[in-house]
Subunit: 351 residues, 2 copies
DNA sequence: ATCTGTGGTCGAACCGGTTCGCGTGAAGTG
DNA sequence: CACTTCACGCGAACCGGTTCGACCACAGAT
């Protein structure tokens, strides 16, 4: 079931079969049909490894998606799905690598062993050794996210600074004066995750601009952490009336914490942030948030990578997205509820 | 940067380098060190395609994960993550294929072009043409899920029948007499998805056994559908006091519907089902449910596949899991709330 | 001193494709 | 009619590994 077998049965040489298939040289209609019949009959498909070896391309792209903390987030799922489908449209397959760093065996395999033609990286850090490495060896790649110095790179990113600022302005416009920021886990912040840093920056600057009183928190990527975080927020400043979050996995926990503290959303407390729409719509009341356009980003990343692969030497391109805030039901003007919380609500307990 | 270059610089033949690397024939300590030095110096890594071509194994497994309906579910994410990590531990890479059927280009590439040594399939149907095809050509694969006739196959599955029944018994024990079943989308049921069918079976039989009054519903995989579904449930039978669901993506919508209808969970209405713990813990109150052990299932699937690859001819094995129900906060004895809902609650409206 | 065994190495063949150079015969051109 | 042009097909080399058979040197056995 290899090309030699086909050639033999069709009574031609191996090269003729190859040319009949690729069309890179003319082949008479007669022999082409003869070959095609044999191929259909035997159900022949050329071996991918042999082809890759011969022409130096694997027709595979690598998707590097390190676990964020200990588990994977919903946003990662959206990226994986959209990247895979976009790649399939270009007849590329996608190879997964859970690598967090440059030195991971899996990362080394991708590059060193030339398993993939190019790579898409997720969970970018402001200083990212993987991207540095890739740039140093001039390996075609596209980042979903951007480093501290994205100039001259290929990436598709979200303007977390602007998005977080927009959330602040939205709350400030509604009259909120004391708001909290719920970030990704501390370990990710320390590791330099760009969304965590840029989001925090945007929040802090916009809050200063509007003269707001703020507190910022790190929060684990799960509901229990969200609950605990909300309890800390209300403990630290019971007069807080709103929060902004980047942490979609904690969202359910934040809501639960508010419910347990007797704060009704949005009457007593407004919640907003930067979250994929599927999560924003899951909670009750639905979250007013900047929707992360994950499918679009995945598709754009593949488009960029394919362009880079097809036209080596093209100057670098990128896309910086800043989706608008979708008004749903979790924010409301401040002060419609009690301005000062009842004294016994300061440190809520739970079962 | 190929093996010939290494050989030249080390002053030996290509075959000697190969043997030094693989250890399949003795190589003197001297030459081995000489070779190793050159390799370290040049950072040489053998080309994966060439190696795959020569020894007929790609060291890659395929993960076939069709979109469920139009998008991907959280459970799929958990599988993808755990499969990828388990595979990495065996030094296997994972190739993604979003194929729904046998004839997809991406599926054909995986098999016909021999891109992978084996495959793991998700979203199994009771009659699954992909599995039939794989069995026919004796291609090593493991299913996450089981068909109508799983005998003699390799799979790791969840006992949806028993799990759904356990939910029913749990509710019946609490005194609920009128309960609803919220299934996956109708299109998936029609397509023969095993979880949807076996879950429905288990629910129906157990309900009959306990003499309960039931209604069953299909529901889209998103919050809006969940809300709509709950409205239908209360419209069709306002006396319903509990529901069982397999649909984790609809969960948020179901809760929202209950809230809008003025039914307090769990006082007026109990909710349970078969749902991954990360989702069960996100909603408020947390869901009492049979937790889908997705990470464990992914790991087991990889274990089975690797065993099958390493020892061809081993008799088929499988794992059928039936995790217990985790008691959380969404179920309570029936009848503690109003037995008959207030008349104006029959057909709730929403903004 | 010859035979046998074995550690160590090499050259060549092979995996299954692609591609280059060349040869052929027929058609087109002056 | 000689001369180019081009469609068509073949054989051989190549991609970068692995593996088989053979060879040599030196050890221990007889």
């Amino acid at each position: 079931m290899n090309i030699g077998e086909i050639a033999k049965r069709a009574g031609v040489s191996r090269s003729t079969v190859s040319y009949a298939l690729s069309g890179k040289r003319p082949v008479s209609e007669d022999t082409r049909q003869k070959i095609q019949r044999v191929i259909d009959e035997l159900g022949y498909q050329p071996n991918a490894s042999a082809r890759a070896l011969a022409n130096g391309r694997t027709n595979t792209i690598g998707l590097v998606f390190p676990p964020a903390g200990n588990h994977y987030t919903g946003m990662q799922l959206d990226f994986i799905g959209s990247v895979t489908e976009a790649a399939a449209a270009y007849d590329y397959d996608v190879l997964l690598s859970p690598s967090g760093v440059d030195s991971d065996r899996s990362f080394q395999r991708l590059l060193g062993e030339r398993r993939v033609d190019g790579a898409i990286l997720m969970e970018i850090r402001l200083q990212d050794d993987r991207l540095d490495h890739l740039a140093a060896v001039d390996f075609p790649s596209v980042a979903i996210g951007r480093t501290a110095h994205p100039e001259g790179g290929w990436w598709v990113g979200l303007d977390h600074t602007a998005l977080a600022a927009a959330c602040v302005h939205h709350l400030a416009d509604l009259g909120h004066r004391r708001i909290a920021f719920v970030n990704r886990p501390e370990q990710l912040l320390r590791a330099g995750y760009e969304s965590a840093h840029r989001g925090l920056d945007g929040f802090t600057k916009a809050a200063a601009e509007r003269g707001l009183t703020v507190r910022t928190y790190c929060c684990g990527d799960d509901a229990a952490s969200g609950l605990a975080c909300l309890e800390r927020i209300l403990h630290d400043d019971p007069a807080t009336t709103a929060l902004v979050t980047l942490n979609e996995a904690a969202l359910g926990g934040l809501y639960r914490g508010l419910a347990q503290a007797g704060r009704h959303v949005p009457r007593d407390f407004s919640v907003t942030g930067v979250v994929a729409s599927r999560w924003a719509e899951t909670v009750t009341p639905q979250l007013t948030a900047a929707d992360v356009p994950a499918e679009q980003m995945g598709r754009l990343a593949v488009d960029l990578l394919v362009e880079r692969l097809d036209h080596p030497g093209t100057p670098a391109r990128h896309h910086l997205l800043a989706p608008p805030i979708s008004l749903r039901a979790s924010t409301a003007p401040a002060g419609t509820g009690p301005a000062d919380p009842a004294p016994d609500l300061g440190a809520p307990t739970h079962p």
